[in-house]
Amino acid sequence: MAEVLLSAKGLTKRFGGLAAVDNVSIDLWRDRIHVVIGPNGAGKSTLTNLLSGDLPPTAGAILLGEHDITKASPEQISRRGLGRSYQKTNIFPPFTVWENVRLAAQSRAAQQPWNPLRWMRAADTERSVNERAERALELAGLTERRDTVAGAASHGEQRQLEIAMTLATDPQVLLLDEPLAGMGVAEAERMVKLLLRLKPQHAMMLVEHDIDAIFTLADHLTVMVNGAVIASGEPQAIRNDLGVQAAYLGEDH
């Protein structure tokens, strides 16, 4: 049995009377990709936001390793080793691609905002930070675009940058919210390759719509509808499940 890095039990998020996420339990294992699918509004992004601390859950508990992160802030969760990317590109548009990734990597340097000596050294000269940023840039295939202003990069490149920034924080657990959204065929293929390459060291949760990618990548598939999990298990078993086909696969495709 693979190692469980993240385990959420009975997660619920209510907005007023609406349960956007309704009693969802999910485990993420190292060396496995857990894909979450479901129609629009099923609560996939809300689930991601609960796990990353962007939203506080109404009920339920989340364990990251042995730490209870249910009430932790996004920065605490990030520092415990969870990295996430966003469905809507969430970057620093006026900075260069390099500075975006370097800044993310900097968050893992010894943080001493009160230490005046650290105020006086150029940020670019921190070698361990630069190395981590270079590695993330290379993994995401952006090394040649490092001096491009991020806001002027293509959509696909900005999606890659999302991943690079996440990787620059050296996460154990990766939550990727539609990393393939809006990508061309070649770009998507490269992203799928990257995710497979990252798989052995990471526990991954992927929210995705692209059917081909889902069945290429998924080791475990969870189907959500109206905030609740209607099926969870081996991808092939789910594929043959008539209920799921009716609820999702049939309608959408």
Binding site: S52, D54, S73, P74, E75, S78, R79, G83, R84, Y86, N90, I91, F92, P93, P94, F95, T96, W98, E99, R102, L103, A104, Q106, S107, R108, A109, Q111, P113, W114, R118, W119, M120, R121, A122, A123, D124, E126, V129, R146, D147, V149, M165, T166, A168, T169
Partner: protein, 331 residues
């Protein structure tokens, strides 16, 4: 260096040349200008330090404080309180004391205000500053609405600050040190994190930055540097009153930063000089029949800033860069 182009953080050559020329002019000025004008330029330099301290919040971190004058005034009052009626007090312990006082006030107030965002941050910083303003305004012990006089400038030992020219060069040295310090800070990991907070605080937290601590550190540091300016102001004018901490003083600093160009500290200096010079000019306007143009200087200043922001949203320095670019295009 992989310089982000935002906010003219990396100063183009044309701006650097203008700054160097400005420095030469500042060094030569006391030897050619009268004492009256030397004192006026001293005040401009003090306000430039004040504007730079605000720029750390406003231009770099994206926190628009409408109460920054509180920390300017508090340091001035600190000097006034410790200066006896019959003699000078040493610069070497009163200056650190005043800076610490302003920093402590900024740390305590910052603890509450940096939790808020946008319009709420503006309102809360103003509310705290108004509280301090009325505390001093209404208390006879603190000088009341009339303020306090300082009969002696601080005693520096090595040099005589009572001498107009010496005070001028001491202020210039403070200006240069503050500028050099803040420019270094801008490119340090701390400065890059503050810029990241301005652009996208949400993402900063998602990659693991405790942005509250960074914003509080910036707020405290900005308060301390505003205190440096306030201390110099009190020493130079020999007088403090609640207006130093008032709403207008805070608003003027914001206008200086916008006028010069935000987020690079050079713009704050240029903005402070331009603002004070324009103020001087507008106040000196003649009467047109019944209508006293000079009395309505705020109208002309307002119009000027509206025009400038419409045509040069990046301030006077941004204007310089645009011309620089156009020139390069033609060549």
């Amino acid at each position: 260096m992989s310089a982000p182009k935002a906010n003219l953080e990396a100063l183009p050559r044309s701006v650097q040349i203008v700054l160097a020329l400005g420095l030469v002019a500042l060094v030569v000025f006391p030897f050619v200008g009268s004492d009256f004008y030397a004192q006026m330029v001293t005040r401009m330099m003090i306000l430039a330090i004040f504007a730079m301290s605000l720029d750390l919040l406003q231009g770099v971190t994206g926190l628009v404080s409408l109460g920054h004058a509180a920390y300017f005034g508090l340091a001035g009052y600190a000097l006034a309180f410790v200066t006896p009626q019959d003699g000078a007090v040493s610069l070497w312990w009163t200056l650190p004391l005043a800076l610490l006082g302003s920093a402590a006030a900024a740390l305590v107030i910052g603890f509450f205000v940096v939790r808020t965002k946008g319009i709420y941050f503006i309102m809360v910083t103003m509310a705290f500053a108004q509280m301090i303003y009325y505390l001093f305004f209404g208390n006879k012990v603190l000088g009341g609405s009339d303020g306090l006089y300082l009969y002696f400038k601080p005693d520096a030992g090595l040099f005589d600050l009572e001498n107009t020219r010496v005070f001028y060069f001491f202020t210039l040295a403070c200006l240069l040190l503050t500028y050099a310090f803040l420019r270094r800070l801008l490119w340090s990991p701390f400065g890059r994190a503050l810029a990241g907070i301005r652009v996208n605080e949400h993402r900063m937290r998602a990659v693991g930055f405790g942005t509250f601590g960074y914003k509080l550190a910036a707020f405290t540091l900005a308060g301390a540097l505003a205190g440096l300016a306030g201390y110099l102001w009190a020493a130079q004018t020999g007088f403090v009153n609640p207006e130093l901490m008032g709403f207008h003083q805070s608003a003027h600093a914001i206008m200086m930063v916008i006028l010069g160009g935000m987020g690079n500290f050079a713009g704050a200096i240029v903005g402070a000089f331009a603002f004070e010079w324009l103020l001087h000019e507008f106040k000196g306007l003649p009467s047109l029949g019944e209508f006293n143009l000079g009395k309505h200087w705020q109208l002309w200043m307002g119009l000027f800033i509206v025009l400038l922001v419409s045509f040069a949203p990046r301030g006077l320095l941004g204007l310089l860069q645009r011309r620089h670019k156009a020139g390069a295009g033609h060549g």
